[in-house]
Assembly symmetry: C2
Homo-oligomer: 227 residues x 2
C-alpha cells in the first residue's frame, strides 16, 4: 500500500539548509491505523506532506499502491491524490472566500461528481462532524475547532482509501475530539487506511501502531498491544 | 483589574445572527492564573477577543484597570492594548512576510523601543521558547508548533501585565507544551495575570481558577483546590 525507502527531505532557506527528514524507511499495509508522534519540529508534517503527495522528497523512494511516485507527472500525481487520499492539514488550509459547504464540495468538484450529489454528500459530511448549522459560514465566521472540523469533512467526503490527518483534534475539546475519532474508527472498520499525527496520547490510543519521530528520524515503530 | 458585566456578542452573518456570548459577568484580580475551557464553538475565543480589546461587545460593560473600554477611542484602545496586554491567537496570526525575529520585534516597534534593545529582547524571547536556531525563518518555513512558539514569544516580549493565550499549546507535543507552561508559571510568579484557553486538562491544572463556557454562557467558575 505505502512503502518508503530512505526518504529524505532538505529545505533550503536563504543561506541555511534544514534536513527535516533524514532517511525514513517503512511499509504500511492497507487498512492499518497508524499514529505519528514526536516533538515539535521533528519532521512529522514533512513526512505527511511527502506521503500525501503534497511535496517531493529530496532523495529516497515512495511507492503508493506499488507505483513509484517519482515516475509520475504532475497530472498523474494530482489525480492519484484526488482519488486515493483525503488530507487534513495542520493549518486546515480552507479557502477563505468559500462557505463551509463549498469548501467540502471542492474535492468532489475535481473528481467530476454531479452538483446534486456533491451538495448532498457535503451536507452529510458536515452534519457528521456536528456543523449542520454552519453550512453557509465562511472560515472567518467559524471558531478554530469548527474550521478544523470543516477540514475533516472535506478529507472524508471523497471516500478516499487513505486518510492522512495532521493533528486533526488539536483545536478540539475532549468530547468533540472523541466524536471525530469515532468517525475515523468507523471509516477504519470499513477498510480505510488511517495515518494520523497527534501529540495527545488519548488520541494515539485509537491507533494500532505508533511511529515516533525525533530530529528527522524514525526512532521507534511499535505495535500498540493494549488493544 | 478585569471586570465584565453582562457582556454579550452577536455576530450577524448574511441572514442569520449567531449569539456567541450571551451575557457574561465576572471579575479577575491582578496576578490571577485563570483557565478558560469548554466545547468547540462555546464562545471562548469570542470572550478572549473582547477581553483583549480586539473586538467590541454588542452590549454589556468591560472595565480594564477601572477604565470602561467603551469610553475609549481607537487610539486609546490600541495604546492600552500595546502597553498592557500580550495576546496569543488561536491561529497564531503571524505576519507571513516577516521572519520569526521581526514578528517578535513588532510589539516593541509600536511601543517605541530602540532597535538595538528591540532585537536583543526578541532574540532572548525566541531562545526562551526554543527557537534560537530559527530566527531568520518565515512562518511558511517553520513547523506548526514552531509558529505557535513564535506567537508566544511575541506575546511575552513587551512585558505585558496581562497575557491572554488562546490554546497556546494546541500544536505542541507534551514536553514542549510543558516548557511553555513553565514560562507562563515564571511570568505568573513575577506578577503577570494569565488568562489561558485550553482543552487539555494537563494544561488547565497549572491554573488556580477555571471558567467553563457552554453555548455562549459561563456555566462554571471554580477555584482549583488541588494546588
Ligand atoms: N465572525 C463570525 N461570524 C459569525 N459567527 C461567528 C463568528 N466568529 C465566531 N462565530 C460563531 O460564534 C460561536 C463561538 O465561536 P468562538 O470562536 O468563540 O468559539 P470557541 O469556544 O473559541 O471554539 P473553539 O474551541 O472551536 O476555538 C461559534 O459557533 C462560531 O460559529
Ligand atoms: N519550508 C521550510 N523551510 C525551511 N525549514 C522548514 C520548512 N518547513 C519546515 N521546516 C523545518 O523542518 C523541521 C520539521 O518541520 P515539520 O513541520 O515537519 O515538523 P513537525 O514535526 O510537524 O512539527 P510540529 O509538531 O511543530 O507541527 C522544522 O525544524 C522546521 O523548522
Ligand atoms: Mg507539524
Ligand atoms: Mg476558539
Amino acid at each position: 500500500m505505502i512503502k518508503v525507502s530512505n526518504l529524505r527531505k532538505v529545505y533550503s532557506t536563504g543561506s541555511v539548509a534544514v534536513e527535516a527528514l533524514k532517511g525514513v524507511t517503512l511499509t504500511m499495509h492497507k487498512g492499518e491505523f497508524v499514529a505519528v508522534m514526536g516533538p515539535s519540529g521533528s519532521g512529522k508534517s514533512t513526512f505527511m506532506n511527502l506521503l500525501g503527495l503534497l511535496d517531493t522528497p529530496t532523495s529516497g523512494n515512495y511507492w503508493l499502491e506499488e507505483r513509484e511516485v517519482s515516475s509520475l507527472n504532475k497530472n498523474e500525481l494530482a489525480s492519484l491524490r484526488n482519488q486515493k487520499l483525503g488530507f487534513v492539514f495542520q493549518a486546515f488550509n480552507l479557502i477563505p472566500a468559500l462557505t463551509a459547504l463549498k469548501n467540502v464540495e471542492l474535492p468532489m468538484l475535481y473528481a467530476g461528481v454531479k452538483p446534486q450529489e456533491r451538495r448532498q454528500r457535503a451536507l452529510l459530511a458536515l452534519e457528521k462532524v456536528g456543523l449542520g448549522e454552519r453550512l453557509q459560514h465562511r472560515p472567518n465566521e467559524l471558531s478554530g475547532g469548527q474550521n478544523q472540523r470543516v477540514a475533516i469533512a472535506r478529507a472524508i467526503v471523497n471516500r478516499p482509501s487513505v486518510i492522512m490527518a495532521d493533528e486533526p483534534t488539536g483545536a478540539l475539546d475532549t468530547k468533540t475530539g472523541e466524536e471525530i475519532m469515532e468517525i475515523f474508527e468507523e471509516l477504519h472498520r470499513e477498510g480505510t487506511t488511517i495515518v494520523l499525527v497527534t501529540h495527545e496520547p488519548d488520541i494515539a490510543k485509537h491507533a494500532k501502531r505508533i511511529l515516533r519521530f525525533k530530529d528527522g528520524l524514525l526512532i521507534r515503530d511499535e505495535e500498540v498491544t493494549n488493544r
